[in-house]
């Protein structure tokens, strides 16, 4: 088996008496989309926060590209190639679509200490940003402010910013949330093509999208990982049906 790109080992996090993450070991292999599902309050967002570094685990380890990154801050993990998209869009809303994408390109270049010369005049950054916008289909709204985008377009922009980082792994927190049928079809098609570039850890509620995209699915419930397996295995799993899927599967 190939070495996983991203993995957690025995991750544990408690808030007072509430164990939000209990002994979670999960891995993301090259070329796959690994979906993480679970009911509200199952600990999905807490898990993502620990993987991306905004929350420190009480115990356990996070490994990225074979390296222990448990104590690295979020920015350092991002520089190593971990690209995150947010459940609630965290874009610079007053800035244009192009400026948001440029920020990603600037982060990738890793040299923000340039005080002169227009950022928009930098051909290297701009090329990278425009290529990412083109890929997600936001090219024609590049000059629009992020605040004026539709909800679905903001999701696409989140993905575009992640793309500018040239990531080694994506972590996406409910990218389909709040999207209509059309928007979620479009985003599903986009994500489908991304796995060849870098594997995606996909936390998602939209089961249609999960079943359409996932190579493997992990199920969280009450902070514990109750099952991991292929789509067919998870659909057939009794514990999972009881905890979450109900009749949907």
């Amino acid at each position: 088996m190939t070495e996983p790109v991203l993995s957690t080992h025995g991750l544990h996090k408690a808030f007072g008496a509430l164990a939000a993450t209990q002994d979670v070991s999960i891995d993301l292999r090259p070329g796959e989309i690994h979906a993480v599902i679970g009911p509200n309050g199952a600990g999905k967002t807490t898990l993502i926060a620990q993987i991306c570094g905004t929350l420190a685990p009480d115990r356990g380890e996070v490994r990225l590209l074979g390296r222990d990154v448990t104590r690295l801050p979020p920015a350092a993990r991002a520089r190593m190639g971990l690209a995150r998209t947010f459940q609630i869009s965290a874009l610079a809303m007053e800035d244009t679509v192009l400026q948001n994408a440029l920020l990603g390109a600037l982060g990738k270049a890793g040299r923000p200490w340039q005080f002169f010369g227009a950022a928009l005049g930098r051909a290297d950054l701009r090329g990278r940003a425009e290529a990412a916008l083109d890929r997600v289909g936001l090219w024609d709204v590049a000059a629009v402010r992020a605040a004026e985008l539709s909800h679905g377009q903001r999701r696409q922009l989140e993905v575009a910013v992640a793309l500018t980082l040239g990531p080694r792994a994506f972590v996406m927190d409910e990218p389909m949330a709040g999207l209509g049928a059309e928007g979620s079809h479009r985003l599903t098609a986009l994500l489908d093509g991304l796995r060849a570039e870098a594997p995606i850890l996909l936390v998602e509620h939209d089961m249609d999208a999960v079943f359409a995209l996932a190579d493997r699915i992990s199920v969280l419930d009450g902070g514990r990982l109750i099952a991991t397996g292929s789509v067919a295995e998870i659909r057939a799993d009794k514990a999972v049906r009881a905890a979450y899927l109900g009749d949907a599967a």
Binding site: E94, T96, L103, W113, A119
Partner: protein, 327 residues
């Protein structure tokens, strides 16, 4: 040309025309008032880099303004009293040279901003405001109780400091120096806002999470912004002391910090010429209403209320419209 460009050009034109008229009409006091406005504007442009670009509500910018003032006061006092500034293994004299004083003012206030920023940027929101205010008060009371340089009474400097090739005692020449510095700093501000650093800082204000997730450190970006901001306000402090030929702990007071912020709010937060418009209007009101009542700031308070309630973009927002994304 956008409305904002016109607004900026109109302010620049006023900054040239008003003193020009005063010179022709033989009204030196008007030139002094204009100098005061330009120096306040410079201090506020400094704060606007932290506040407008970086979103840092610093209620302690009087620290940098006062450090600039005392840099001038201490250097010039040693020069006029013919006592060495430092007398140990190395003997350093004071100086009456403006460029040297400016460099010392800039370096000292930048260093202070670095130290204050390292501590205060660990917090945000209202805690950041309170910590910057607390630093301001600490420095203020230190200045009051430090007897070496006049303590509460301050330091009078008898003759304005010199600038090579100019006679700074002529009001219009000193005004020219201040205006040139203001223009240089405005150009720097405009360049910063468009630069890669400005892009990252602007995003760090709006969404620190986003900046982290592209691998940049929002706190370091803000720290650098605060250092640049403090340095500029420090330079303004040196000029202010030179204008008055006097420096006292009042320059460190929290009212001073508040005034610098009021200039920006009246003029337009984050707008290039907002602080200039705000400082100009403030000095104008101070002059016109100050003659009516010594409690003229009641009217200023009313104006501030109106701006905050009905014209959030300040004068710049009112006249030039909403901020457009620059390219």
């Amino acid at each position: 040309m956008s409305r904002e460009t016109l607004f900026n050009a109109a302010i620049l034109a006023l900054l040239v025309a008003v003193p020009g008229w005063a010179l022709a009409a033989g009204e030196p006091f008007t030139i002094t008032l204009a100098t005061r406005a330009v120096i306040f504007a410079l201090a506020a442009v400094g704060l606007n880099i932290a506040l407008g670009l970086g979103g840092l509500v610093s209620l302690g910018h009087a620290v940098y303004f006062g450090i600039g003032g005392y840099a001038m006061g201490i250097l010039a006092w040693h020069a006029q009293s013919h006592t060495p500034l430092i007398d140990g293994w190395l003997t350093l004299p004071g100086t009456k040279s403006m460029p040297v004083i400016w460099l010392v003012a800039i370096a000292a206030s930048a260093l202070a901003a670095l130290l204050i920023g390292l501590l205060s940027l660990r917090t945000s929101g209202v805690y950041f405001i309170m910590i910057t205010l607390a630093f301001g008060q600490m420095v203020y009371f230190f200045a009051i109780s430090w007897p070496a340089y006049g303590g509460e009474d301050g330091l009078p400097i008898y003759v304005r400091n010199g600038f090579p090739g100019l006679n700074t005692l002529v009001p219009i020449q000193f005004y020219g120096i201040c205006l040139a510095l203001l223009c240089a700093v405005l150009a720097l501000n405009a360049a910063l806002a468009r630069s890669p650093f400005g892009l990252a800082l602007n995003a760090a204000r709006q969404s620190p999470q986003r900046v982290e997730c592209v691998g940049l450190d929002p706190v370091r970006l803000k720290l650098v912004a605060l250092v640049i901001s403090g340095a500029i306000t420090g330079l303004a402090g040196a000029l202010f002391a030179d204008l008055n030929r006097f420096v006292s702990p009042v320059m460190f007071s929290w009212q001073m910090s508040g005034e610098i912020m009021v200039f920006i709010i009246i003029g337009g937060v984050g707008r290039l010429f907002g602080p200039v418009a705000g400082a100009g209007l403030y000095v104008l009101l101070e002059h016109l209403l100050g003659g009516v009542s010594e409690y003229w700031q009641i009217f200023l308070g009313g104006l501030l209320l109106i701006v905050v309630l009905f014209a959030r973009g300040g004068l710049a927002g009112l006249i030039a419209g909403r901020r457009v994304a620059h390219d």
